[in-house]
């Protein structure tokens, strides 16, 4: 009884279909409704009174808790708990970078609630999932009143807590076009249950014979550094290539300081993290 009175009252909507959810979204005044896709981040705002919304739209009853392999492509429903994603044997073996990134999020208990859609929707600068999705050329499937559209994660994420999601849209799924050797490495103050202050995601596409390098952990958002990826050649790049890629990434990335780390330290971390990530990626083989 007491806990019910400790947080400001709000209406909780739990639509069972996408149509109902979109309709609720459409009829809400701007800022009056918050979308709940797990709540591990949103609850902080509710508890602190920072969230002005008096209506919370929960997506938990929507039929989006899905995981589907189609050959080498993987489609992940936006409300699938991260723990389920982590427990999928295919993810572990065929997308080791995604697996590592999911495991970097919070604790097991938290991952039972947290979702990929929520992580993308909240779009935090230190997201562990966005950088690996960037490296994997993932796309976000959005649904709105005019139907569905697909946006590259790189286009979807616009800044700290800023996305291309329109007020009347919801994230339905994330599509990874092909399983790739990949790796995700992060540096944080506490070795567990902490936010990264520098992270590197890499993936190698055997089909396109190209590398993607993403950096994260600093504001405003995780970014791809295509120039760094282009310096890496073949499934097992040489040490010299990796060093040049790391130097390029550290130089080109718009790395800044904040309370979590200095700019100098962050730039210095790019090389060891990228070297280790490429090594891990190369040794994870061509499991596709």
């Amino acid at each position: 009884m007491r806990s019910a009175r400790a947080v400001a009252a709000f209406d909780l909507l739990t639509p069972a279909t996408a149509e109902e959810a979109l309709s609720a979204l459409r009829s809400a005044a701007p800022g009056a409704l918050a979308v709940l896709a797990g709540g591990t981040d949103l609850l902080f705002d509710l508890d602190d009174g920072r969230l002005a919304s008096r209506t919370v739209l929960s997506l938990r009853r929507l039929p989006w808790r899905t995981l589907a392999w189609d050959g080498a492509a993987l489609t992940i429903g936006s409300t699938l708990p991260l723990r389920t994603l982590e427990n999928d044997p295919g993810v572990r073996t065929r997308l080791p970078g995604l697996y590592a990134a999911v495991r970097a999020v919070g604790s097991v208990a938290l991952r039972h609630r947290a979702t990929l859609g929520g992580n993308l929707g909240r779009s935090a600068p230190a997201s562990d999932l966005i950088p690996i999705l960037l490296a994997l050329d993932a796309e976000v499937e959005l649904v709105g009143p005019e139907g569905a559209r697909t946006v590259l994660v790189d286009r979807f994420v616009q800044g700290s807590r800023k996305t291309a999601l329109r007020p009347d849209e919801l994230i339905r799924a994330v599509r990874i076009p092909e399983a790739r050797p990949s790796a995700y490495l992060l540096q944080r103050v506490r070795p567990f249950h902490d936010i990264s202050h520098m992270a590197v995601a890499v993936a190698y596409s055997p089909r396109r014979e190209s590398w993607r390098v993403a950096l994260a952990g600093f504001p405003p958002r995780p970014i791809l550094v295509p120039e760094a990826g282009e310096l890496l050649r073949g499934p097992r790049p040489s040490s010299a290539e990796v060093v040049r890629a790391a130097e390029t990434a550290a130089q080109l990335a718009p790395i800044v300081a904040d309370k979590r780390a200095s700019e100098e330290y962050r730039r210095a971390l790019v090389k060891p993290l990228l070297e280790r990530a490429v090594r891990a990626c190369a040794s994870s083989g061509g499991a596709t």
Partner: protein, 734 residues
């Protein structure tokens, strides 16, 4: 000694015990604090009208206090709310109560507070850029100045073979009890009652009386199961505000800090800068000079205790014939300095141990041999003239050295093994009293403290009673009472509970047994036992039910009552050495030696603790399970101070990381297995020679970790915590 399940464990695991955070009262209102929007400034106005305009809201602030308290006034130096000047950001300037917490928060946000800013002071080194080397005494920023010296220090430094000078910096740490500060207050007529989560009900009573100007006999403080103290709940905090609100509302008021407020308003152990200078000739320390610049927040001048307390730790448990120690407590626009388990001792041990290790390396001797050579032994006199006796640290160090050597032999390449020492003083003069009640079926220990989680009250006092009387533990019950009914006790802090309150319990029991012996015609010694469903008195082979010794009044009351008290002797220091200020007289020394094995990522600076061993001088192990748990918990907490915990303050007195996302306490995943060894037999002043164990386990941790990091990587880190970026920087500057 019997290892046993904690009597509160089952109920706690099942969520059946009412912690402070579970307190409520019928018809209660919810309180919220209105806080200062600037770290320093003239308080121009606090307009409560917008809050009062909300239905059901009660609001109080400084201007309202007179009528509320019928003209009484509290200590003018520590008003509940500031009248003219705010001295730290988020200082409470008013309080509101409302039927729901959201409404209370809304009302608090509606109060209009106007502060005309004055430049704020945050960084002590920015205030005194010429320190050390300049006399800061006249500055209004100085809250305390302590200075002591012995011998011809300057000459000793001039003539020494080697002089090593270093500067260390330590961070601001927060107790981080899981349960925030919380209470429920209820004022009726002239009876000011508050139920609260506290380490010191009597301390809260004293504070409330002083702050509100209400006589102590009108204030009743009742405790609750405490959801973690760690030093942060030793004094009043939310209670005066809740009482004022209840007085104004005529209803019970619950006031709890949110977790964010815990950080924003909370008292922390603040940052310090230490300059260490050591002169060595032929492998011996010939002189030391220690200078401390300690941030004491808005602590009042003349009332700062921290500076004189902390500086004594900076010489460490080492002999030093010639020395000079000088400390300044510097006032800043931060909340007042607050205790954190073994206030400032882990930081000081980190400085002393890291510095002496560095000195030993500089002069080319083995650091542990160097420390062992200078360590206090029984019969020594400390720098400030206190006698060292029954000191088990040399024995603990020998055991730790053995383990360290073995670990060094067996550790994989790249691992480093380090050792850190720490000392503590566990018999404070803070007193305690207790009452025992013997019925035919049970022995009840009546006292005023609540169990804060360490086991010192629930298990420690019962263990003392078990050993004194011989009665099995399940016939001994610890009873809690409020300050109107319990005998006085100073509080569950300073590792004093078993030592001081336990001594009072022991005294009460000895009085009880003496009464039984006297009534049994002088038979002695008398002990107690549980036989055939009754408590019996035993003397030799004779047995008699205790009820046979009750007089008429006792038979009617059903119990024989005895009382005991213990007020420790304050330690003494050699005042001829003191030039300025007040130094804390430590007594009843105890100590610990810790061994850590770590790995260091040489590229990122990340440190992982692989294994850990702790050797503690405890006098007598009162309860093995609780003792072991204290050490494991203390090590875990110390790992936070060592590796991750750091409250970050901006130059204008803003706390930048008010929450558990960026103020990082350790998680179970990075706490390694801890081997615990107790060194018994160096008996202290507590019952049966017990020494306190609440605080010592945290003290050597940062020192041991820093030593291991240096062994693993060569990084000599002179700042706490040893977060990856600091370690990486130290590696780079090698």
């Amino acid at each position: 000694m019997t290892a046993s399940m904690r009597p509160d464990a089952r109920a706690k695991v099942l969520g059946q015990l009412a912690f402070g955070a579970d307190l409520e009262a019928p018809g209660m209102l919810w309180g919220a604090l209105v806080t200062a929007p600037a770290a320093h400034g003239h308080l121009r106005s606090v307009d409560l009208a917008p809050a009062r305009a909300l239905p059901g809201v009660v609001a109080v602030a400084a201007a309202d206090l007179g009528p509320l308290l019928s003209g009484r006034s509290g200590d003018p130096e520590r008003p509940a709310f500031p009248r003219e000047t705010v001295t730290y950001r988020n200082q409470p300037v008013a309080a509101v109560a409302a039927p729901t917490l959201p409404l209370a928060r809304e009302a608090a946000a509606a109060v209009r507070v106007v502060v005309e800013p004055i430049p704020a002071v945050s960084d002590v080194e920015a205030v005194f850029p010429d320190w050390p080397g300049s006399d800061l005494g006249a500055s209004p920023h100085v809250a305390a100045h302590v200075l002591a010296r012995r011998g011809e220090v300057d000459r000793a430094f001039r003539e020494a073979g080697t002089v090593v000078r270093e500067t260390y910096r330590t961070s601001s740490v927060h107790p981080v009890a899981l349960e925030p500060h919380v209470c429920v207050a209820e004022v009726h007529d002239d009876r000011w009652t508050v139920r609260t989560s506290t380490q010191s009900p009597f301390g809260v009573r004293e504070d409330v009386s002083s702050i509100l100007g209400v006589p102590e006999e009108s204030v009743v403080v009742d405790g609750a199961w405490v959801g973690g103290g760690f030093g942060g709940k030793g004094a009043s905090f939310v209670e005066p505000y809740a009482l004022l609100l209840s007085r104004a509302a005529g209803r019970p008021v619950r006031l709890a800090l949110s977790y964010r407020e815990e950080f924003l308003l909370g008292r922390t152990t603040l940052p310090a800068v230490v300059r260490m200078e050591t002169a060595v000739t032929s492998g011996r320390i010939v002189a030391r000079r220690v200078r401390l610049l300690l941030d004491v927040g808005t602590s009042l001048p003349g009332r700062d205790f921290a500076t004189g307390y902390a500086i004594g730790f900076l010489l460490g448990p080492y002999r030093c014939p010639t020395f000079e120690i000088e400390g300044y407590g510097v006032r800043t626009n931060k909340p007042p300095f607050g205790p954190h388990r073994a206030p400032f001792a882990p930081q000081c041990a980190f400085v002393v141990e890291s510095h002496l290790e560095h000195v030993a390396r500089e002069v080319g001797v083995d650091p542990l041999a160097f420390k062992a050579d200078h360590l206090w032994h029984d019969g020594d006199t400390t720098a400030l003239g206190q006698r060292v006796a029954h000191f088990g640290l040399p024995t603990a160090l020998e055991a730790a050295r053995g383990v360290a050597e073995e670990w060094r032999r067996t550790a994989p390449a790249g691992h480093g093994v380090g050792v850190g020492l720490g000392f503590w003083s566990t018999n404070t003069p803070a007193g305690g009293e207790a009452r025992v009640r013997l019925t035919p079926k049970e022995l009840v220990v009546v006292q005023g403290e609540r169990e804060i989680g360490t086991g010192s009250v629930l298990v420690g006092l019962a263990a003392v009673a078990e050993r004194r009387t011989g009665l099995p533990r399940d016939r001994i019950r610890i009873e809690y009472a409020d300050t109107a009914h319990a005998p006085y006790d100073a509080g569950v802090f300073g590792s004093r509970t078993v030592g001081a309150l336990g001594s009072a319990v022991d005294q009460a029991l000895r009085n009880l047994l003496a009464t039984l012996a006297e009534r049994w015609g002088g038979r002695s010694p008398v002990t107690l036992g549980w036989e055939n469903g009754a408590i019996v008195a035993r003397a030799g082979t004779a047995r008699r039910p205790v009820s046979e010794f009750f007089n008429a009044a006792e038979s009617e009351a059903g119990a024989l009552v005895a009382e005991g008290k213990h007020y420790g002797q304050p330690g003494t220091i050699d005042e001829s050495l003191v030039v300025a200020g007040t130094f804390y007289p430590y007594t009843d020394f105890t100590g610990a030696a810790h061994v850590a094995e770590v790995t260091v990522d040489r590229e990122t600076g990340s440190v992982r603790v692989v294994r850990y061993a702790a050797f503690h001088d405890v006098g007598w192990v009162v309860d093995p399970l609780s003792a072991r748990a204290q050490v494991e918990g203390g090590v875990a907490m110390g790992l936070g101070t060592a590796l991750t915990e750091e409250a970050l303050w901006s130059d204008d007195g803003r706390l930048l990381n008010p929450g558990l996302v960026d103020y990082r306490i350790p998680t179970l995943d990075e706490v390694p297995p801890v081997d615990v060894t107790f060194v018994e037999g160096f008996l202290g002043a507590g019952p049966f020679g017990a020494k306190g164990l609440g605080e010592p386990p945290i003290i050597p941790v940062p020192a041991a970790i820093a030593s291991a990091v240096r062994a693993a990587s060569g990084a000599h880190v002179t700042e706490l915590p040893l977060a990856p970026e600091r370690v990486a920087r130290a590696l780079k500057s090698r």
